[in-house]
């Protein structure tokens, strides 16, 4: 099974923490861009004839900012150029400030069956601080339109002036309006973003406080019936994001659009981040790839361990040994011994103990060369 990721690099405005590829002032290019995306899909489809894709993820940027007809055509193009599985999971990311009843109706009609809504926080002043272009009431309207659908809500922790109650409120709102999935992330102050200035000025909670918030959120979600299946992802039974699970299982996927990344036949490659360059490549029938790395056997093992240990499912040793043709416990004997206090192996599955999931980097590092 494999996934398709399509990147829509347009936004109404740039969030203050965003370091993704997005162009808030270039929505006028949407039509040209979408045309190129369809064309790139056609090129890739030809190349990946033998693949069956069971997820399509339309991310950004803000995919919901472009006209819904482009999205409908995108889904149609995916089905036309790729072998999409019958029950494929098709997700779109949405900003609650950019949706309408007719938009969502068309999304559903064209086959989108999963929605990811960027709430971030239920406190309007904090939304404003983040530079989000929506408020709580817009989220509620949006969630009402999604009633009965399979939808996920993004919630952020580690915000300026954020209290534990604020986090509780965000989660409560998401649960109350029927979210089946919650992604809970800590704000990462990336260098070069406006939020980084807040960080430098000491206005953001420190690591200990964020850990506190995380623990609080995990507990809250648990009480509401959400199961943690990855360090930042929680869902109601059976509502895992299949698309993301594929990433963490080192599955294959093809990325379409500017800055999108792919993993096909043990080669990881990335498209250009430059919009003009992207147009130029597609219009001359060239793949806009700027970076391509073949992952060797050791790299594959390391990736598999690093990704699997993020998840609550852990790493299935027998499966790992079969895929990589080696003995995990032998190769990583030293790392296993050193971290025995933080790891558990039961029924042939290696996991980071729950209480150490949030300090996993240190542990995972020991599984890298």
């Amino acid at each position: 099974m494999a996934g398709i990721y399509v990147h829509i690099p347009f936004c109404k405005q740039k969030c203050r923490y965003c370091d993704f590829t997005s162009f808030p002032d270039k929505t006028g290019f949407a039509e040209s861009y979408m045309t190129c995306v369809y064309h790139e899909m056609a090129m890739r489809g030809e190349e990946l004839k033998n693949y069956v894709f069971d997820t399509l993820y339309i991310g950004g940027g803000t995919p919901s900012v472009v006209d819904e007809s482009y999205i409908a055509m995108l889904v149609a193009a995916a089905k036309k150029y790729f072998n999409m599985a019958e029950n494929a999971e098709i997700t779109i990311e949405m900003n609650p400030g950019t949706v309408s009843a007719s938009k969502i109706a068309l999304y559903k009609k064209c086959g989108i069956n999963r929605f990811s809504v960027g709430l971030q926080t239920a406190v309007d002043s904090q939304l404003e601080d983040l530079g989000r272009c929506h408020n709580l009431s817009q989220f509620i309207s949006c969630a009402k339109l999604l009633r009965g659908e399979n939808f996920s809500v993004d919630v952020m922790i580690g915000l300026k002036n954020q209290s534990l109650e604020d986090i509780g409120k965000s989660i409560d709102v998401a649960a109350a309006y029927g979210a089946s999935h919650v992604s809970m992330y800590a704000l990462t102050p990336e260098d070069g973003t406006p939020v980084y200035t807040d960080y430098l000025n000491g206005e953001l909670p420190d690591g200990d406080e964020v850990a506190e918030m995380y623990a609080y959120g995990v507990n809250k979600l648990k009480k509401l019936g959400f199961v943690r299946y990855e360090v930042s992802n929680f869902c109601k039974r059976g509502r895992e994001s299949r698309h993301n699970l594929n990433y963490w299982r080192r599955g294959e996927y093809i990325g379409i659009g500017v800055s999108a990344s792919s993993h096909i036949k043990n080669v990881r490659f990335t498209n250009t981040f430059d919009l003009d360059e992207y147009f130029k490549c597609i219009m001359t029938n060239r793949f806009p790839v700027i970076d391509s790395t073949e992952i060797d056997a050791e790299g594959r093992r390391e990736e598999a361990a690093m990704l699997a240990l993020r998840t609550a499912y852990g790493l299935n040793l027998a499966e790992f040994n079969a895929v990589h043709g080696c003995d995990f416990e032998k190769i990583y004997a030293e790392a296993l011994k050193k971290n025995s206090r933080y790891l558990e192996i039961s029924n042939g599955v290696l996991k980071i103990k729950d209480e150490f999931l949030y300090v996993q980097n240190t542990i995972i590092c020991d599984f890298l060369k």
Partner: protein, 602 residues
């Protein structure tokens, strides 16, 4: 008997740091046409990066110049540039032995400084003719007459004929050259006598082997000659001789009186020592030249390769450094925390710092250094006396009858405004006031007895910061004195870390222990478990801090194409971990071992 060429002048320059030594040397070279102004890189002789960055001279560098004097003769000048800092007195004594004269540069606005004086006395001891030169007369604050008076008062030299120059803008440089002709004596010796050449420096060239920097006192040497030294038993055939112009220029033979270099395919660094005398193997001179005063290391520290497998590289590097700095001593040592390394001895703190920097830069080695220590005299209960410069080698308390530490006599020169601060500092450092002398209205000399172990810690930095850099300071070791010394241990997660142990005076153990714990708490990264950091004296805990357990260390949004980038982030984190040492179960970055040098105030 044949006298050497009487038109040679061999001299060096003595000056305080920053009084313009290298600039004057450059100017002399420019004036004698050695280098054109256009080709001149700033400060030609300070060729090491560290020298240029710090604006100081560490290594001596010889250069040959030709000068057409007013008397109608062409003279050969051999100038040997010398370091100015007190730690490098040894280097200075080496160059002095190769010269007949010394130019003493005195800053027209600052007068004579303590370190300069020490070198002047050294030059006088070596029977060198001294030519005072007043520099920086272009400065508005220049007081050349006062500077001259000071030379006469303090050193007792006649300064009436001292040229007044500005090395910066080139004023009166010719007068310096003429004075050198007039006041410096020509070399003595006998060209017909058997070869005697003093090795005053050396370095290793990958193609030519060891290059000897020599001053010929007697005889001649040429390509094809069989040479040896007094101390070595091997015989070498000379492959090249030459002079410094200022880069090495091959020449047909060197004669008594000349300064130059000899290459003889000498492969082993240990075979030739600076200070030894080169002789002709087939026509041996009977007596060696007087060597150099053997210097005693006063500051010691452990040097370990960051990567344990680089032990051999570190050893090679130390050997190569020792080749042209015989004052560096080292012997293999091991530490539970740091593995295999060397215990090294230095002439002072700056010397230590420079050596550490050279190891890192010139040899590309990542090293860990332990806290500097002095050599303590330990009288054991069985009345045996041992010297200990490594705290972890200190015998158990039960076997120690008493301990003695080296004491110095320190001269501190300062404008009177800072007396209070200096006296406070000396008191903090267990100093005993001895004398105060007003040299003039603006300069006071303070004399103190101080324990050396207080000076090597942070005394120099503090005195500079408390006097805004105005004070200068010089010291000499006067002997050992009984003292209440204790070993301060640091425990990480309950385990003693030998590389962090220090020997301190009983009275400062508590405050040092507390400061150290506080600094270590900041320097040790948080780990998955709580780490107690304790200071202990004789098994008794005197201070404690805790490094809290880490609570958040996770990559955000590990999605899609991000994976390659995220993995790189983890690999970077892993690289950081690789640079750490594991002590017990605690991972410690190498910087931690330098925390011991930090204090909380200032």
């Amino acid at each position: 008997m044949k006298k050497p060429n009487q038109f040679i002048r061999n001299f060096c320059i003595i000056a305080h740091i920053d009084h313009g030594k290298s600039t004057l040397a450059d100017r002399l070279m420019e004036h004698t046409g050695q280098v054109s102004k256009r080709d001149m890189e700033e400060q030609l002789l300070d060729s090491m990066d560290i020298e240029r960055e710090r604006g100081i001279t560490i290594k001596l560098t010889p250069v040959r110049m030709f000068y057409d004097a007013d008397d109608g003769n062409e003279y050969v000048f051999n100038l040997i540039d010398t370091p100015g800092h007190v730690d490098f007195t040894y280097e200075v004594s080496r160059s002095l032995a190769a010269c007949e004269g010394a130019i003493l540069i005195v800053d027209a606005s600052q007068g004579i400084e303590a370190q300069t004086l020490a070198n002047v006395y050294l030059a006088l001891e070596n029977n060198l003719e001294i030519l005072p030169v007043i520099n920086k007369i272009d400065l508005p604050s220049a007081r050349p007459d006062e500077a001259k008076k000071e030379i006469e008062d303090v050193i007792g030299l006649d300064a009436s004929y001292a040229p007044l120059v500005s090395a910066k803008d080139g004023t009166n440089i010719k007068e310096v050259l003429e004075s050198a002709v007039k006041y410096f004596p020509p070399p003595e010796g006998d060209v017909d006598a058997p070869l005697k050449a003093l090795i005053f420096d050396s370095y290793y060239d990958n193609y030519k082997g060891v290059i000897l920097f020599v001053r010929l006192k007697d005889g001649k040497v040429d390509v094809g000659d069989k040479i040896t030294t007094f101390r070595a038993d091997k015989i070498y055939e000379v492959t090249e001789v030459g002079v410094f112009a200022p880069s090495m220029l091959p020449k047909n033979g060197l004669c008594a009186g000349e300064v130059g270099y000899i290459a003889a395919s000498i492969k082993s660094i240990q075979d030739v020592a600076v200070g030894d005398t080169v002789i002709n193997a087939e026509n041996r001179a009977a007596e060696p030249l007087p060597g150099y005063k053997k210097v005693q290391s006063v500051v010691f520290c452990g040097i370990y390769p960051l990567d344990g497998s680089k032990f051999g590289d570190l050893k090679d590097a130390l050997l190569k450094l020792q080749l042209n700095d015989a004052s560096l001593v080292f012997e293999p040592d091991t530490s539970q925390a740091l593995g295999f390394g060397f215990r090294c001895g230095f002439l002072g703190l700056l010397h230590m710092e420079i050596m550490q920097e050279r190891l890192e830069r010139e040899f590309n080695l990542d090293i860990i250094t332990t806290a500097p220590s002095v050599s303590y005299k330990v009288i054991k209960t069985d009345s045996e006396t041992v010297f200990v410069d490594n705290p972890s080698h200190l015998p158990p308390v039960s076997e120690i009858e008493s301990m003695e530490e080296p004491i110095v006599h320190a001269d501190i020169y300062s404008p009177p405004d800072y007396l209070g601060q200096i006296m406070d500092l000396c008191r903090d450092k267990r100093g005993i006031f001895e004398q105060m002398t007003y040299l003039d209205a603006n300069r006071v000399k303070l004399e103190y007895r101080l324990p050396l172990n207080e000076i090597i810690f942070d005394f120099f930095d503090k005195i500079k910061s408390r006097t805004r850099g105005y004070a200068s300071f010089d010291y000499e070791i006067t002997g050992y004195e009984k003292s209440k010394l204790v070993k301060l241990d640091i425990l990480l997660n309950g385990d003693v870390c030998d590389a962090l142990s220090i020997i301190v005076h009983e009275s400062s153990a508590y405050s040092r222990g507390r400061t150290l714990c506080e600094n270590l708490k900041e320097a040790i990264p948080r780990q998955l478990f709580e780490i107690p950091v304790q200071a202990a004296v004789g098994g008794k805990i005197i201070a404690r801090e805790t490094v809290k357990a880490m609570r958040k260390d996770v990559l955000a949004k590990c999605y899609g194409g991000d994976i390659t980038r995220k993995k790189k982030l983890l690999e970077k984190q892993k690289e950081g971990k690789k640079r750490m040492r594991t002590i017990g179960s605690v991972e410690v970055p190498s910087e931690v071992f330098m925390q011991i040098l930090k204090t909380n105030d200032e």
